[in-house]
């Protein structure tokens, strides 16, 4: 996931920044996302790159996931769970939901039998 972040203000008396963040490929402007404040005491202030990177690590990824959840789902994107025997005629035109994982997982061979 590519993330963008916009710093809106630095609150020096609190050592905190006000920011907005979203996915790079968001179809909404970043200014339409809510403002958030985060304390900087535990962020890396070595240079700008380190600071932004540590800010993203601390808050941004989690926040974007939350924002995505709150945005709701378009009616035409509403998914169903993939279940049952594979029948291409039955799956055409349907939207399925899957849990995405980046881990490499191999197929486990199992055999259904009748007892």
């Amino acid at each position: 996931m590519k993330v963008i972040i916009k710093i809106l203000d630095y609150l020096s008396e609190r050592d905190a920044v006000v920011f907005r963040t979203c996915r790079l490929n968001s179809h909404k402007p970043i200014d339409e996302y809510p403002e958030k404040v985060v304390d900087c005491f535990d962020l890396n202030k070595n240079d700008t790159e380190d600071f932004i990177q540590s800010l993203v690590h601390k808050i941004s990824a989690h926040l974007i996931e939350e924002q995505d959840e709150n945005e709701g789902i378009l009616e035409e994107n509403t998914p169903i769970k993939p279940t049952g025997e594979l029948d291409f005629e039955k799956i055409v035109g349907k939207v399925f939901q899957v849990r995405h994982t980046t881990r490499r997982i191999n197929h486990l061979k199992m055999r259904r039998i009748e007892l």
């Binding site: 049952g84 997982i105 007892l115």
Partner: protein, 158 residues
């Protein structure tokens, strides 16, 4: 380089995962991927715990090889093998759907909310010889089991 492979199969009402690895492998699992209700060790031994928690659960083919791991649902977990290991996980498809699991130790009465899985060995059930990772939906009838030292589990939807 140490060997560690993950396997997965989604069945009709549940899923099964398997992890096969060398000794002294450490593997992490994120909370979002954790759907396992039971662990079944069919080879070797290892331990699993919530990340940074000292309260770990040991699985050992020569000891406790069938464990209820529901307490780890919703937590990042870490697994460490003590020796070359193979572990299966019985997983719910929906975290709202609980299951009861047990090992088969002899003949039993089945019911139509249950599934039987042969994790290891060649038991004979109702005259049919099973092999590793055969599974069946049970019915409301008697099941005559000759276990032959196999590891067979029955899992019931609650």
């Amino acid at each position: 380089m140490k060997r560690y492979h993950r396997y997965f199969k989604k069945c009709e009402e549940f899923s099964i995962c398997s992890e096969i690895g060398d000794a002294n492998v450490v593997a992490l699992e994120e909370a979002k991927d954790r759907y396992s209700l039971y662990h079944i060790v069919v080879k070797g031994s290892g331990r699993v715990a919530k990340t940074f928690d000292s309260d770990y659960l040991v699985g050992d083919i020569n000891g406790v090889y069938f464990s209820d791991v529901k307490k780890f649902l919703g937590f990042d977990t870490v697994f460490e093998s003590f020796e070359p290991v193979q572990v299966y996980g019985f997983n719910t498809l929906d975290l709202e759907q609980d299951w009861d699991g047990r090992l088969v130790d002899g003949s039993f009465e089945g019911d139509d909310k249950s599934w039987l899985i042969c994790f290891k060995g060649n038991p004979t059930i109702n005259g049919k010889e099973l092999r590793d990772m055969d599974y069946a939906k049970l019915e409301n009838k008697h099941y005559d089991v000759h276990l032959n030292d196999a590891i067979v589990g029955v899992f019931t939807k609650l």
